[in-house]
Amino acid sequence: MSRTDTTSPEQPARKADVILQAMALARTFQMGDAKIDVLKHVDLALKAGEFVAIEGRSGSGKSTLLHIMGALDTCDSGAVLFDGENISTMPGRQRNRLRNQSFGFIFQFYYLLPELNVLENTLLAPMVGHGVGDFLAKRGELRRRAAELLAQLGLSHRLKHRPGHLSGGERQRVAIARALMNRPRILFADEPTGNLDGETGRQIMDVLEKLHREQNQTIVMVTHDRGLAREADRVLVLRNGVLASAES
């Protein structure tokens, strides 16, 4: 399934295909007196419909890179372009809108709201994106979409259950449903199987692959698991703050 990256990450991709582009990203963390350069000079071009895996050891900065690309964090220098627009310099409101409408996130620890049931957690993204009146007007349609997504993920019998009553795999599938609710252009997955056993992790990967295959979903996944990374179209390795292709 996986294929080796044939273009260098530094090579600029053809503009028409590129959906997201990271250019010379740098990020330093201050830990007491020490400065740690997590990202030194990272370039990356992501094409629409691509499934890219970023592999790296724990603490290599791959999650930081994902957060910066997903407008959850900012870089010290460099730029991230989404559809040609620099998201690093966007005002907060625009970045919020981007996270709500164009990006979807899946995290290692699922991050569901414990007070909400499965259906409500899934509806959270459209709830954030709509005002009260707008949401109530579209409630039926949105609930139908959430129920369909959850059914596709095998959770139709769990709609009214709260996260505390679900297994790890089920929680992650709810998180995937939530991430997909607003039909994101890019799905960011941060160690999506990191907290699951092998079998359940496999099921989650199957869901992501199916999304990519059947719906041409653009996915950026970071993982420390080389085996999982190989399931992506393209594998990049983050080492010493620099991104390189898997074979370099």
């Binding site: 957060h67 997903g70 959850l72 964090d73 907060g92 409101r93 919020n96 809108r97 981007l98 996270r99 709500n100 409408q101 996130f105 995290f107 991050y111 569901l112 709201l113 007070e115 909400l116 409500e120 959270l124 993204a125 709830m127 954030v128 994106g129 709509h130 005002g131 009260v132 707008d134 949401f135 109530l136 939530r178």
Partner: protein, 494 residues
């Protein structure tokens, strides 16, 4: 949409918020109960004391009173804006009730027909006309019936409602001393003097015996106009109890006896007394201790007091015996007369408000701490919300809205509990006394025999509004902290 949804979810699912809710409810209840009782007490105090002596009084401290009251009374009644005016004699005396109770009391000589228009003495009498009519229907003896009918016709009065024979029968041994008890006049006693209790609903209890058969011996303190008091010739007068009164002021109801004005005037030798001047027999002017005045609705109290003062000044200029150097006749509004006490209570109210200000601060701080804990506990949720596009303002609004809802629900519950407590406060107090022997409201201390149980709508609105504002204030800093959190920091929160 998510803000409203999460506020309601957090309120229902987060037990810690219930503590904040309980704190707001308790504080609101407590402040409402105390302010209502305090304000009610002030209001009762003002109403009762206003009712005791009318709007304006002309008086001297001395029990010997002042002369020429009738001339002043006539002038005062002619003043535009005066509704009614009456003379009163106030003195002290010893009473012996039924040979079972001896006590020192304040004795007031009043004309009950005039008192009907001034003060609340007549309204507070236990036996009102309908009761007397019912009693009339139960009487068989024609002489008794005639006496009762006269008492009804003359009501309010000191008329005895029974026949002479009935009274003689109630004091058989009096004949042996050649005392005609049937001639004894009527007297009204404060209900607490003879140990009657107030029943639920405020009415005075009716004892098993007939109160009309109770005799009272009164020894009033006769003021001496000479240089030496004459203590050897104190008059003792017998009376029959014709009614009991309740003004609502315990100190008055436990220490005041009322008799007819003219009778007391004679007993105290304050009626015109003969004297010789330049070989001619003359009469002194009759004396009274007070003139009580009620003004017409809408008339300005202070202006009317000024006009009454002019009348008194004119009398002082006209009559030499009014020109005393000590203890001159004073004109006071009822507020001026109770000024020292009213001011003390007002100051106490300010102190109370200050104390409640501190309590409110404690409530705000409590809400702040609880919300700070909630925000700390919900830090990761804040990260999740921000990761799916929630704005900082939106996150802040969740916690501010949460505080607002807690304030509204807590304030509302506090209002409900406060209303229930205040409305039933006398019942609760009686139950505490009966069950645990706890007496919080001693009428000897607080003047009134009932705890005020009315909530003012204005006070309630203010207190609930302050509870809501306090809740929002307590949530502001935690909400700002939540808003400032970066999504990645929040997601990594341990």
């Amino acid at each position: 949409m998510y803000k409203l949804h999460l506020i309601l979810k957090y309120l229902r699912k987060r037990r810690i918020a219930w503590w904040a809710l309980a704190a707001v409810t308790l504080c609101t209840t407590m402040v409402l109960v105390v302010i209502s009782v305090m304000s009610g007490w002030m209001s009762m105090f003002r109403t009762a004391y206003h009712g005791l002596e009318g709007d304006i009084t002309v008086s001297r401290v001395s029990v010997s009173g002042f002369p020429h009251y009738q001339e002043m009374l006539d002038d005062i009644r002619r003043l535009d804006g005066v509704d009614a005016a009456m003379p009163v004699i106030k003195t002290y005396g010893l009473i012996n009730v039924w040979g079972q109770l001896q006590d020192g009391v304040q004795v007031e000589g009043v004309g009950l027909a005039q008192a009907n228009k001034i003060g609340n003495l007549v309204q507070g009498l236990q036996d009102q006309e309908p009761y007397l009519r019912d009693k009339l229907a139960t009487l068989a003896d024609p002489a008794d019936k005639a006496a009762m009918q006269k008492a009804i016709d003359d009501f309010p009065s000191f008329d005895k409602p029974r026949s002479d024979d009935w009274y003689r029968a109630h004091m058989p041994h009096a004949d042996t001393r050649k005392v005609n008890v049937a001639n004894w006049p009527g007297i009204i006693l404060g209900y607490a003097i003879i140990g009657l209790q107030r029943e639920k609903g405020g009415a005075i209890e009716r004892p098993s015996f007939d109160l009309n058969g109770v005799w009272v011996h009164l020894t009033p303190l006769v003021p001496s106009s000479g240089s030496m008091p004459d203590l050897s010739n104190l008059p003792v007068q017998g009376f029959w109890l014709v009614n009991v009164s309740r003004t609502g002021v315990y100190q008055v109801d436990s220490k005041t006896a009322y008799v007819d004005f003219e009778l007391l005037q004679k007993l105290l030798q304050m009626d015109p007394q003969p004297y010789t001047q330049d070989g001619q027999q003359k009469l002194t002017s009759a004396r009274a201790n007070q003139i009580r005045i009620n003004i017409k609705p809408g008339a300005d109290l202070l202006k009317m007091a000024g006009k009454v003062q002019e009348v008194v000044d004119a009398a002082r200029n006209r009559y030499e015996d009014m020109q005393t150097q000590l203890d001159p006749v004073k004109v006071e509004t009822w507020e001026q007369r109770q000024g020292s006490f009213l001011n003390a209570v007002e100051h106490e109210k300010v102190l109370l408000l200050f104390l409640f200000g501190i309590i409110s601060l404690v409530a705000v701080f409590l809400i702040f701490c609880i919300f700070y804990m909630i925000v700390a506990e919900k830090t990761r949720d804040i990260g999740i919300l921000k990761s799916i596009g929630a704005s900082s303002g939106g996150v802040a609004m969740i916690f501010l809205g949460y505080g607002l809802v807690i304030g509204i629900v807590g304030g509302g519950l506090g209002l409900l509990f406060g209303f229930l407590v205040v409305h039933n406060i006398n019942g609760i107090h009686e139950w505490l006394g009966r069950t645990f022997h706890i007496v919080v409201w001693d009428p000897k201390t607080y003047l009134f025999d009932t705890i005020p149980n009315q909530i003012s709508a204005e006070n309630a609105i203010w207190i609930v509004s302050i509870a809501v504002v306090s809740s929002v204030l307590g949530a502001i800093l935690p909400a700002m902290r939540a808003a400032r959190l970066q999504p990645v920091e929040s997601l990594r929160w341990e």
